[in-house]
């Protein structure tokens, strides 16, 4: 079984919120993705069984959002998103991404060899007043430099 009883319980707890179980697709994918750092095929099948829909329907939705990782490309322990959209670009966002890429020796989309950090580019994070900004997992940090980014990541992964 790919999904623990505890994960299953958390998915089932979403059911009463919606008149149709298929609507639990995104909540379920988030729960699984957070725990397992990817959504393996076996997990897709088990989510489908819980939601009483076909695994292909889950995969169809999941693959649309480039957010979820398949099992061949799992996330590192921290996921660091660097905004590359207009307001951040105007204040050094793209340079920040490039510097981090060199520092961690990883291209955007990749994970460091020690499995600690996955580096991603993001589109506008909705914090443009603090450009350039980054998201570490789901916490936003503003007015960033490469140094302050590294400090935050070291801090959170301790």
């Amino acid at each position: 079984m790919a999904l623990s009883e505890q994960i299953r319980e958390r998915i089932r707890a979403e059911f009463p919120k919606y008149p149709d179980r298929r609507a639990v697709t995104l909540p379920a994918l988030h729960i699984v993705h957070d725990e397992l750092r990817s959504v393996p095929f076996a997990a897709i099948e088990e989510i489908a069984e819980l939601l009483e829909i076909h695994p292909a329907e889950i995969h169809d939705t999941m693959s649309f959002y480039q957010f979820f990782r398949e099992e061949d490309r799992p996330l590192g322990r921290q996921r660091v998103w660097v905004c590359r959209s207009i307001s951040c670009m105007l204040r050094g966002g793209e340079e920040l991404l490039e510097t981090l890429s060199h520092k961690w020796r990883v291209a955007p989309g990749g994970t460091t060899a020690d499995g600690r950090v996955s580096l991603e580019y993001a589109e506008c994070l909705g914090a443009c007043e603090g450009a350039p900004c980054i998201l570490v997992n789901d916490e936003c940090h503003t007015n960033m430099t490469a140094e302050s980014t590294v400090a935050i990541v070291n801090d959170t992964s301790s």
């Binding site: 919120k17 919606y18 008149p19 149709d20 298929r22 609507a23 639990v24 697709t25 995104l26 909540p27 994918l29 988030h30 939601l51 329907e57 169809d60 939705t61 649309f64 959002y65 480039q66 957010f67 979820f68 998103w81 590359r84 959209s85 207009i86 307001s87 670009m89 105007l90 204040r91 793209e94 991404l97 490039e98 890429s101 291209a107 955007p108 989309g109 580019y121 993001a122 589109e123 506008c124 994070l125 909705g126 914090a127 443009c128 007043e129 603090g130 450009a131 998201l135 997992n137 789901d138 916490e139 936003c140």
Partner: protein, 445 residues
């Protein structure tokens, strides 16, 4: 413009701004009491009379939209709160949710009472983790205090609010893309009609409203229609179809200014005043070259259009798509418009859902053409190709399902028409500004 005392942002940065007790101490939930004492249809009429126009980008009058619901509908009616806020430059919904969650919850409750809905889904972009935690705590406080759940304040009105997190896709902000996404599918916008008010979420009548729109509703109930209409710009007398631009508006200012931020002002402030008086002016003592008036989808104003008023009509008259999200991004005179336009096109290409060929191909090819120009291999004729592509995509030429495509075309049209000499000079000089990181990411949109 005389000083404007903020209403929507009045509680921001107060220590107690997030708690129910703090909200109540500032008079919170009095508007809901008022609404519960009225007939639902009268609440709708009040909002309609205020001519509150949607703050999410399209500017459709909120009260009028509510009247499109079928009368005496027996089954469920849903409210979807659009908190997918992803238009580059825009962050006002985030501030409203993080700083004053109960103002939004009160607005949701009033709207649901008016449209006779007992279930509201708040679709929140995934990246707003802080908003999620603040709203989740505030909603729990409301259940504990009897402000959500069944028979609210003994009125017989029931309401549940469900927080639903997205997964980092701009198209989930398009209202029918949002609905599809909520239903657990890919966020492919639906062909309209039917509009959501007739057949929306789970095929039931549904109203979709933006966070800021719903926050305005609270103050319309509290202070009245006359108050709301005393702020902003009345209808243009020479245009019988103009509804005016009433009420306060949250303007986001970012990019090359000294003090980026979000300010609340009456609709209609001029672009120049916004930059100079409310954002500390252009940074480094430079001049503005181009200004995004309402998120990149709206296109660009040039430096000689700085006096454009930011109401629902102003940007339109200057050749932009509209007011959009009123997110102003300032580009200084040291920045290449080729680089700025590339950034906009790359965003749209990344975010196009791919259903409509003109949008999927148009956004991808505009990006590729700009990549080639930025690698030093452009031709001046490329600019005409870019314009031709832009003219052929969108709801306005009638070739696509949703407005993303118009929003992708507008920056191209405005940039090339208003800044053509700069583009030609760039190409003729064989400049190259593509960075290695951009080249690396290039295949990936």
């Amino acid at each position: 413009m005389p000083h404007f005392e903020p209403v929507l942002l009045a509680r921001v940065a107060k220590e107690s701004s997030q708690s129910l007790d703090g909200y109540r101490a500032d008079g919170g939930y009095a508007a809901l009491d008022k609404a519960l004492g009225m007939a639902p249809a009268d609440v709708t009429t009040k909002v309609k009379d205020s001519v509150l126009r949607g703050r999410g980008g399209a500017g459709f009058p909120a009260g009028l939209k509510w009247t499109f619901l079928p009368k005496d509908h027996p089954g469920p009616i849903y409210l979807c709160i659009n908190a997918d806020e992803s238009e580059p430059g825009t962050f006002n919904n985030r501030i409203l949710m993080e700083e004053d969650p109960h103002q939004l919850i009160e607005g949701i409750a009033i709207a649901c009472y008016a449209i006779r809905s007992s279930k509201a889904y708040l679709y929140l972009r995934y990246e707003y983790g802080r908003s999620y935690r603040v709203l989740d705590a505030a909603i729990k406080e409301c259940y504990a205090a009897g402000l959500l759940g069944t028979n609210i304040k003994g009125s017989g009105f029931d309401l549940d609010i469900v927080l639903h997190r997205g997964a980092a896709a701009y198209i989930c902000g398009e209202e029918t893309g949002l609905i599809e996404s909520l239903e657990g599918k890919r966020a492919w916008p639906r062909i309209k009609p039917p509009f959501p008010a007739i057949e929306g979420l789970f095929r039931k009548p549904t109203i979709v409203n933006n966070v800021e729109t719903l926050c305005c509703v609270v103050h319309i109930l509290n202070r009245g229609v006359e108050w709301f209409k005393s702020i902003g710009v009345p209808p243009d007398a020479s245009n019988p179809r103009d509804l005016g631009s009433f009420g306060p508006k949250l303007y986001c200012i970012s990019g090359h200014v000294n003090e980026p931020g979000c300010v609340e002002l009456p609709l209609g402030v001029s672009t120049r005043e916004l930059i100079d008086e409310h954002a500390g002016g252009v940074w480094k003592d430079r001049q503005a070259k181009a200004i995004v008036p309402g998120g990149i989808s709206m296109g660009f104003l040039s430096a000689d259009e700085l006096d454009t008023p930011l109401d629902f009509n102003g940007p339109l008259k200057a050749g932009c798509l509209g007011l959009g999200t009123a997110a102003v991004v300032v580009v200084d005179d040291q920045t290449s418009m080729v680089d700025v336009l590339y950034n906009c096109c790359r965003f749209m290409s990344h975010e196009s859902c791919g259903q409509c060929t003109p949008c999927r191909e148009g956004t991808a090819w505009s990006t590729k053409i700009l990549e080639r120009i930025r690698s030093g291999h452009g031709k001046v004729e490329d600019l005409d190709t870019l314009l031709e592509v832009a003219e052929s995509m969108g709801i306005i030429p009638g070739t696509t399902i949703c407005g993303l495509s118009d929003g992708a075309a507008w920056p191209v049209k405005n940039a090339i028409r208003k800044f053509r000499p700069e583009f030609e000079e760039y190409i003729r000089a064989g400049r190259r500004t593509m960075t290695p990181a951009q080249e690396l990411m290039a295949g990936a949109h």
